[in-house]
Symmetry: C2
Subunit: 416 residues, 2 copies
Amino acid sequence: MRDFLPADKARRERVLAVIRDRYRAHGFDEIETPVMEDHARLHAGIGGDNEKLAFSVLKRGLDADRIRGCADDPTALSDLGLRYDLTVPLARFYATHRAQLPAVFRAVQIGPVWRAERPQKGRYRQFVQCDIDIIGDPTGRAEVELIAASLDTLDALGLTGGSIRINDRRLLDGMLAGFGFTPDERPGVLITIDKLDKIGPAGVAAELRDRGTSASAVAAFEEFLARDRSAAASVGQDAIRAALPDGVDGAVVAELAAIADAVAATRGGDTPLTFDPFLVRGMGYYTGSIFELAHPSAGYSLGGGGRYDGMIGRFLGVEVPAVGFSIGFERIVDLVAAIGDGGGESIVLVHDRDVPAAEVAALKAGLIADGARVRLEQRPKNLKALLERASADGYTAFATVAAGASRADLDLRPLS
Amino acid sequence: MRDFLPADKARRERVLAVIRDRYRAHGFDEIETPVMEDHARLHAGIGGDNEKLAFSVLKRGLDADRIRGCADDPTALSDLGLRYDLTVPLARFYATHRAQLPAVFRAVQIGPVWRAERPQKGRYRQFVQCDIDIIGDPTGRAEVELIAASLDTLDALGLTGGSIRINDRRLLDGMLAGFGFTPDERPGVLITIDKLDKIGPAGVAAELRDRGTSASAVAAFEEFLARDRSAAASVGQDAIRAALPDGVDGAVVAELAAIADAVAATRGGDTPLTFDPFLVRGMGYYTGSIFELAHPSAGYSLGGGGRYDGMIGRFLGVEVPAVGFSIGFERIVDLVAAIGDGGGESIVLVHDRDVPAAEVAALKAGLIADGARVRLEQRPKNLKALLERASADGYTAFATVAAGASRADLDLRPLS
């Protein structure tokens, strides 16, 4: 967990302001849920491996007897937990408030989540997630809105040139069925395929064989993996078919192609999508399209998402289609070097010790009323060091104030 | 703990944006600390009664034996806790990062805190605090900056007419000493005086007598309390002296008067301060000035603060002066009925079912590029209900889209 000092915090808030502004323009409505959810809800199986990393909150008022009684069932010590993602809270929120929400609900959620990860570079136990979700739209229009909004947001942050890899769980499932993997084997095979970028085709085949997966299916899959995959496939219907074994589901292919067409239409005809038949995305709840956001300046994914039509129903008892996109806020903040702070001039007012508080206060108030940001400083022995510090903090001008000075006496000088 | 639906969340974010903008203009730098702090630090005695309300986070990896071992020391179950205020984290932050901060550090912190309160109207287990603090300035100039910035923020939120009650713990202590309360008795007497508005002078005297406090001191205090206190005292030196028993500390009186003068100088001469000799403020750590923010539209305090010169030293080992002001974000949000959302036009695009996704997406992108906020809707049976809903959600115009429509075909009509 990290402290954020002023320069970092200011950058984070400016990035958040851009994200909020863009998602709002695209018709998404921001909501907020509490950081704690019921312990049982956080451990209902939706969160996958993240559930094991959840922080649990101790029940209040436990005495020695009750604690001893929990020794063989530690979960009884806890009634609440810190959320490890924003998807479980969203599903709970939607089930609670559905009657007050539009029929197609476009949600933005931005907030911290917690995972008890072992400390390592680039992994934090508290980090901000930034999710958009469309609940209630079964068509590919929802995917188009999510992808267009996310690319527009990246553009607005100065990160132009973002691109999307897309696939569909139904195509993956059909492909694996075609190779002869049994329905029971397929979830495990997906987990292995997800490592393809790291361990390569030979590594994938070896892991599947080690696990005792159907030998003929592994052999067929290995042969397919050996095909040239160097050219990223475009997302036209023919290109998708060419990148897959025979016998794919034509309706799904047409859906993906229509999504790519529509995203291109929002960007002057440029198609920032590529089809990747081996894109898996980790979570078990995806049921349709899946996608991942990349940018030339980063060697890792900047976000991703997919369709999870089954999940809301687990909370609501009624099936409702849903699709979401999570952008990697912490990674994006690291890439955004500097964005304008939108403020007026930033002025340091250096006053002598004997200037009455009322005079200093009035001068400061006048400059603020004119749109400036003002930091007061009592004149130190080393004025140069103080001004260098202020300049590093983003201040752009300074003036010295002697007793009796009026606004007209202020001689504003630039800080280099 | 509460969910926030779109209208409430939008209002909260707009209020936060105004608060951030104003405090920034007044030279405060925003920081952020993790929501969890070490359990021991949260229970070091600084938080007063709030410590009892802290949520504790369960240690990870506890087995049955370790849980049984904690039965007689429940605190051993927990290594972390959720913060119950922003003051303890600030003191820890300052002690950690002092070398990287300006000599006089003006901090803004905005974030949620948690208290395991029993549910009751207007009390929440998760709520946002919004603190500004000045660390490193022993003079009343710091109080002036805090008060001027907070009143300016209230003005910017449309809550003009805010006022400040001010007192000083040193004056309170001197007054109680003058009545004959012993040093040991005075902290308890302050807690009782804090209830003056609720239980009245007779109630205060009765509670002190019940507790066995020095009878002669209680009698002297009761006589003083019986004086006419109907007129709010101005914060001139003479008025402060007149509102107190004889023998007050003249230097402290002069400090308060100078603070009032300087705040008035930032507001065209209006003095929004009154002196209240019975203002206490609950926390034990205050050492000097204390103040509370009121507004004519609310029967309760909208915030407050004071000087706590001793606290930073407990973390740092070196005494550093500090003074803070916390505005009651949740209460202020409730008072701010509506503030502009600063956006352009908000447009609902109602498309027929057969309009290709690419056409709809392109029309939406074009309107967004021109500065609008756009919500897509597929035409429902009941268009009127849909438009009423959108209007309630803040949308201001709509257009219907048929297949083949171009931007020029869009006939934008106002939503009533």
